[in-house]
Symmetry: C2
Subunit: 156 residues, 2 copies
DNA sequence: GATGAAATCATTTACGA
DNA sequence: TCGTAAATGATTTCATC
């Protein structure tokens, strides 16, 4: 495997394979093979290379939360007391299934999270009863996503 | 298909199927069938039902951006001039591949985005030359994710 | 909803160019 | 890195319960 600047070298064919599978993880390898004009076994070999390199870190079915009634996405900046350890708070945030992302960030907030709830009532409950209940959380600042217009992975 | 409160009814078997495929989109249906103890054809039928309901919105290979040298994730709150139309700005943000998410939000910012760059230099270039260059962008506020501790979909 | 059987198609390995 | 070939395994459809 060629290494360039501590990165893997991925060529045009790798890119086509990746783009197709990033768009539809269950697309048959043979279908991609026919499209790019090499054998299925060759695609298979390339995929194993890409997996070994760590570039492909898995595959996922994507579910649409709206179908389950989750209509309100919000972001919450969290202020932690100086005494409170960040990892302890994160562990408690992990227990809240509505928390989809959690970041340790620069700036005023100690922690920044993305949450998904059914409606505003649900959001209020999460904030007041679950997040504020975490030891060390002194204050939160919330803003709601009224509409998500872009959602994608890094382009290959 | 049973409908409960304008939602689909998904039973325990559906949940197992979904959880497994949300974790690994290429897991063979027959393997799941053996695990839950019903036939492959039955799983197949259930998957078609779940797809038709819209709950399954697709599948994706997940790539690890770090392998490609993308090490700096940041969030940017964008202030737009009153005159500037939101959709026009979003269209220009779409042209910037480093923009992974874009939300229209409540609060002080008009637009809130998540971006992924290689390093701080790259981030600065994005902010100064690409994002600030968008017509109507008056000011931005940026904070960097030093570490992402949670990343997941809604739990089924 | 579930099943088994059958046809079609895909994955995976080994080996040689 | 690619291709072919062959074995195994998966998907998909259908008639039926």
């Amino acid at each position: 495997m060629k290494i360039v600047n501590e990165q893997i070298a991925i060529d045009g064919i790798d890119k086509i394979i990746l783009r197709q599978l990033m768009d539809d993880a269950r697309k048959p390898i043979l279908e991609i093979a026919r499209q790019v004009g090499i054998s299925g076994a060759a695609i298979h070999q390339r995929l194993r290379k890409l997996e070994k390199s760590g570039l492909i870190s898995g595959s996922k079915f994507i579910v649409d939360p709206k179908i389950l009634g989750y209509n309100t996405m919000a972001f919450v900046g969290i202020y932690l007391d100086r005494a409170m350890s960040n990892p302890k708070a994160v562990k408690q945030l992990e227990e809240i299934p509505e928390v989809l992302e959690c970041h340790y960030t620069t700036g005023n907030w100690s922690i920044f999270i993305k949450i998904l709830c059914k409606n505003n009532e649900h959001l209020m409950h999460l904030l007041n009863k679950k997040i504020q209940a975490i030891e060390g959380v002194s204050r939160t600042e919330t803003f709601i996503s009224l509409n998500q217009q872009i959602e994608r992975q890094i382009q290959i």
